[in-house]
Each structure stands twice: as C-alpha cells, then as structure tokens.
Amino acid sequence: MDLLGHRLLFVTGKGGVGKSTVAAALALAAARRGLRTLLVEMDTRSMLAEVFGTGAVGAVPVELRAGVEAVDLEPDHVAEDFLRTHLRFERVWRPILESRVWHTFYEAAPGLKELLCLGKVYRLEEEVRRYSRVRRWDLLVVDAPATGHAMGLLNVSRVASRILVGPLRRFAQRITDLVTDPERTAACIVTLAEEMPVNETLELHGRLTGKLGLKVACVILNALVRPALEGEARDRFETLRQGDVLRRGLEGALGGGPATALLDCTEAQLAREALQARYARRLRRRLRVPSVEVPWLAVPEWDLRAVEEVSHLLERGLGRVR
C-alpha cells in the first residue's frame, strides 16, 4: 500500500481519535519524502498555528515548514472564492456575495457549504504552479470532519449532481469523479482500539466504500498503549500473581502503599491492553483493509516535537504494512 502515492487523502474517523494530529503527521511524513504537501483543514479551530508557530492558518496557504503548507477552508472565503471563479466579473459576484438572499441561503441551504468546500478541495488539487502546467502540490491531506459530517461532505457532490442542473451539476460531477478515483484519492480512517471508535470505523468503512464509492486505503489504529510487561517479565508476573505471592512479597519489602500502587497500576494497564487487543482483533477480522499501528505517545504538552514524533511512528507503521 502506497498511501502517500495518492494525490488526495481524506483523514476521517470518530470524534476524539486524533484525526487532526494524524493528518498533520501524514503531511510531515510526505514532506520528508520530498512531496510538496498541502494540509487542508476544514474550518476547524486548528491547533496548527500554535503547534508550528506560524501565523494564523486561513484561506491563503501558509508554510508550516519546508515542503508543507496549510490552508483552512473557512466557509465565507470558500463562498467568495466560488462565486468569483464561476461568475468571473466582480460587478456580478460582489452584489450576490453581499446580498441577504445569498447570505441566508448559504447559511441554511442544506449541503451547500459542504459542496463548495469540497469544490475548493477539487480546485486546490488542480492548482498549477505559476507559468507552468506543473501541479502546485503533489499531495493534499484533508483533515476531514468526524464520521457523520465526513459522510455529509463526501456525499454532497453525488447528491448535488443528482438534484442540480446547469454549471453546478457539471462541477459536482467533476468533484465526484475525483473523489471516487482510486488512483488519485483515498480515505484513511483513524480509530482507537476501543469499542465505540471501532464500531464506528466498521460502519464508516461500509458506507464510504459502498454507497459513496471511495477507496479506504487503510485504518490507522492510533494511540495504542505499549505493553507494561513483555516476554519473560510478563510470564513471571502471571505466575507470581497466583496466590498473592507477588502482593505479599512486595508488601513485605516495600510496605502496603507502594506495593498496592505498583500492582494496581499494572493490573489496570494489563486490563486496558487486553481490551485494546480485543478491539484491534475485531477490527482486523472484520476489515480487509491494512491497519497501520501508531503507538501511544506520552507527552506532557502537545507541541511540534510531539507531532513530529507521531509522524515518525506513523511512517514506521506505514512501512510495516505491505
């Protein structure tokens, strides 16, 4: 699987699983490979500017570091950009943009914001460098919304091409062609090895690959806790746990407090590992999609070093998948 070999990646998954971090980490990994990468945020209150120490990320691409730029598709800018592109003359689009009808319609018309946002992604993918036919970016990584909203977003051009007519219909059709082209476009579902995220991943995978016709290139199992005890130590622990040998021994040597803390902490972690292993197995059993493992990273603060570390872990995870 060559995930970074696509032109357009949608990173999605349940809320709270680490989509934005994974998307940023993927962009960094792509840049290390020499790909000119654009990270696309979708009107999120993005932590990018803070993490990368750049100016605010907005409608105009900001360089996060060599080879990686970022934009945030804020709805008002997307609308202006859309009207400007499609109506060309300012005396035509300006009055529309400023009219109350457009404003209310845009605020409330179901799916319109999503359509224009996805349309903007489409146009970014096509963008060429000045004075050349060469694409401006080799790869776009979209930090897509969570499950339900991602479905709304990725489905919108399909619905639009069914109910619209005229120029917008053709536009919607071209967007759908890009999104469903497995050569150019893939989705990655980020998940935790926990009950709800795994269930949602299975469902999302079914809907993306089914009705929407997208390719899901991989599932990214994020934040996997590392084993507290491995190999021989694990066996020894299991043996000595029997009959309270371990507890009595540690209590005798260290006192009740420290012994209890050591044992309770380890027991809780082993229980978590077991649960995690069960959901990871369930995911692998149910999906024929490669799963990429990213270990949990214990950091006190979520800064650039942490994102870079995740990026390297992710790259290693990708390398282990054939």
Partner: protein
C-alpha cells in the same frame, strides 16, 4: 441519600426539567447522559434519556436496541438489579432524525394533500435525511416535543456530534430562517412559479443577483426548490414559533447544560471555548464532567536501593518494569490533576466540576453507570 447531603451535582439537577449534555466528540457524552438519567431515576424522578448513538451493549442494557424514535421504559427489575432505589422510573430512546422531521411536517401541514406533497418532495427527502444540521435541529425539536407532551420530570439529552460545539443551539433558528423570510420569498418569485427565466417581479437591484443565481443553480432546480417552499408555506408559522420556544427553553432556568470533556489538553481547550460561547448566548453552564481522569496512585514510584534490596529474589526482576510503568502513569496522572485544578479555577466556585476515573474496562451496563455515578455524585 438524605436531602441534606445532596452532592453539588445533585443540587444542580434537582429541579431541572431539561439536562443537555454537550462537549466535543469521543469524550463519553452518551455514557454520562445515561448515568445522569439513572441517578435521577434513583432519586424518585421520572426521567427520559434521549441519546444519539449509544454503544450497542449499553443500548441493549437499557432495552433500546431496536431502532426507532419511541421511548422505551427500562424494565424496573433491571434498575433494581443494578441497585437503583425504587420509586423513580427511567425511559430511554434513540433519536431518529428522519422520523422526527416527518412527524413535524405531519403536525403542521394544513391538510393531508400538502403533507403528502412535502413528504414526497425529493428536496425534502434530501433535507431530512442526509443533510448536516438537520440532526441538530431534530434533537432540539424532539426535546421540545418530549418536554411538552412526555410528562417526564426530567429529560436528559445527549447532543449529536457537531462540527462546531454549539451548532445545535442555533439549529432551530437557522432552520426556521431557511424555511422562512427572504429566501423563500425570493424562491417564490412569480417568474419562477410561472416557469420563466429572468426576474421581472423582483425589485430593481436584485435583478442581477437573481439572474446570476438562476444561471448558476439552473432554473429547474430553483423551480424544484420553489415548489418545496410553496408546499411548506402553510407550515412556517408553526416552525417559527417552535424554534422560538426551543430557544426559550434552552435559555431558561429549567435547563442545565452539563459540559463533558476529557482531561486531554486539546479537549479541555475545546471545552473552554464552548463555555465561553455558552455564556455569550446568555445560557449558563451548570456543571463540568471530566471523564476518564487517570487515577493517582499516590506515590512517585521511586524506590531506594534499600527498598529494592528487601524485595525477595524471586520477585526482583519484576520490580524495574513495574516501577517504570507506575512512573510513566503517575506522570500522566499528575498532568491530569494539574489541568483539572486549572479548570476548577477557571470554572469558578459556582460551577461544580465532577470527575470520572479512567476505568480499565468498558461501561456497557447499568452497573457500570452506577459505578460512574459513585464518582459523579460525591
């Protein structure tokens, strides 16, 4: 529990008819909603929990595994078995966006013919089914209906995952704005209804706008929309009035917002943002629940050489990995505690902050909810 010993969270929830659990995705809103509802039932109230997408096993445990928007009573014997005091009652339901929307149309349609015309309209079907925003709207709509007609002492609402934390608060207003006012009038232009291009009936100045939009969207799409609005015309007053009252309920003293968060820095940042926006709208935050806080084992894990020398030889090889694991955990637990203290500071004395530990197992039954409540209510 005697009234005199009510916990801060009990005191908050005691006389609230509506409890809205909100927060960013993946923090455990659904579980906390169910736990709060169970608490209310244990205190003798008649409580309904309206959830969006509960874990299957939890839904099973509450007896709402079957889809549909009907309220189902959790069998009293299950409550008793879980150790809930008798006297109260618990109902649970899952929100069905499409069904709720249909019911709303059925309620406000002036006659069966317009009802059927709307329900059959392709644009409506897209609107009610798969469009973002309608879930938030319907959650609010359902809340209002249940409050008016359900006869519950308390309704606990689990909010849908929104892109922006407060989308659901303005969902009713946005939807009614869309279905009303200038947009509709615009789409009900006589020229469109007559099927002609152009915009003769529109005031000068909007003509260019009209023509450009017609060109962009295609006249026949606009005609579809126009038909939809026409069919909806008789419903506007009902919708608008409903939207107004929903906002009134949310802003009133009978509603408590409970913000659910995790102790992770970025989720807490979201929670702060949410808190600010809530205040901006004149709605007050009732309480914060911080879910999955890592336990503090109360020791630093560092052992002296003398300690280690006393460990029996048979156990000695285990000590370094156990100590390392505890130290790593404690570092995280201290981070949680630090952020929690800062959160309490920011929230001020009026807003109780309750915590739930990070259980190493799933919460998937009423007993699990009781375990959560043992921490929430103390």
């Amino acid at each position: 529990m005697t009234p005199g010993s009510a916990t801060p969270l009990d005191a908050l929830l005691a006389d609230r008819r509506v409890v809205v659990c909100c927060g960013s995705g993946g923090v455990g809103k659904t579980t906390v909603s169910a736990a709060l509802a169970l608490r209310g039932a244990g205190l003798g109230r008649k409580v309904l929990v309206c959830t969006i997408d509960p874990a299957r096993r939890l839904a099973n445990a509450m007896g709402i595994a079957r889809l549909g928007d009907r309220e189902r009573r959790v069998p009293p014997e299950r409550l008793t078995a879980a150790g809930v005091l008798p006297g109260g009652a618990l109902w649970a339901m899952m929100l069905d966006t499409k069904r709720t929307f249909d019911r709303l149309v059925e309620r406000y349609a002036p006659d069966p013919a317009s009802r059927d015309r709307i329900l059959a309209n392709g644009f409506y079907q897209n609107l009610s089914n798969q469009v973002m925003g309608s879930q938030e709207y319907m959650a609010m709509e359902k809340l209002y209906e249940l409050r008016e007609e359900g006869g519950y002492d308390q309704i606990v609402l689990d909010t849908p995952p929104t892109k922006h934390a407060l989308d659901f608060l303005s969902a009713s207003r946005r939807m009614s704005e869309f279905l009303d006012g200038s947009v509709v009038k615009w789409f009900l232009r006589p020229s469109i209804l007559a099927g002609r291009a152009g915009a003769q009936a529109v005031r000068r100045g909007t003509r260019a706008v009209a023509e450009a939009l017609d060109r962009l969207l295609g006249l026949s799409f606009i005609k579809d929309l126009s038909e939809f609005f026409q069919a909806f015309e008789g419903l506007f007053d009902g919708f608008r009035e409903r939207a107004r009252r929903v906002e009134e309920v949310l802003g009133s003293a009978e509603t408590a917002f409970v913000l659910v968060t995790s102790p992770a820095p970025w989720t807490l940042a979201e929670a702060d943002y949410f808190r600010g926006r809530l205040t901006e709208r004149g709605m007050s935050l009732g309480a914060v629940v911080v879910n999955r806080v890592r336990a503090d084992y109360g020791v630093n894990g560092t052992l002296s050489a003398a300690d280690l020398a006393r460990v029996p030889a048979q156990l000695a090889p285990l000590v370094p990995p156990l100590v390392a694991s505890l130290e790593a955990h404690q570092a995280l637990a201290r981070g949680d505690a630090r952020r929690l203290a800062a959160l309490r500071e920011r929230a001020g004395p009026e807003v109780p902050v309750a915590t739930v530990p990070d259980f190493p197992t799933d919460v998937h039954d009423l007993e699990g909810l009781m375990r959560i409540n043992a921490h929430l209510f103390r």
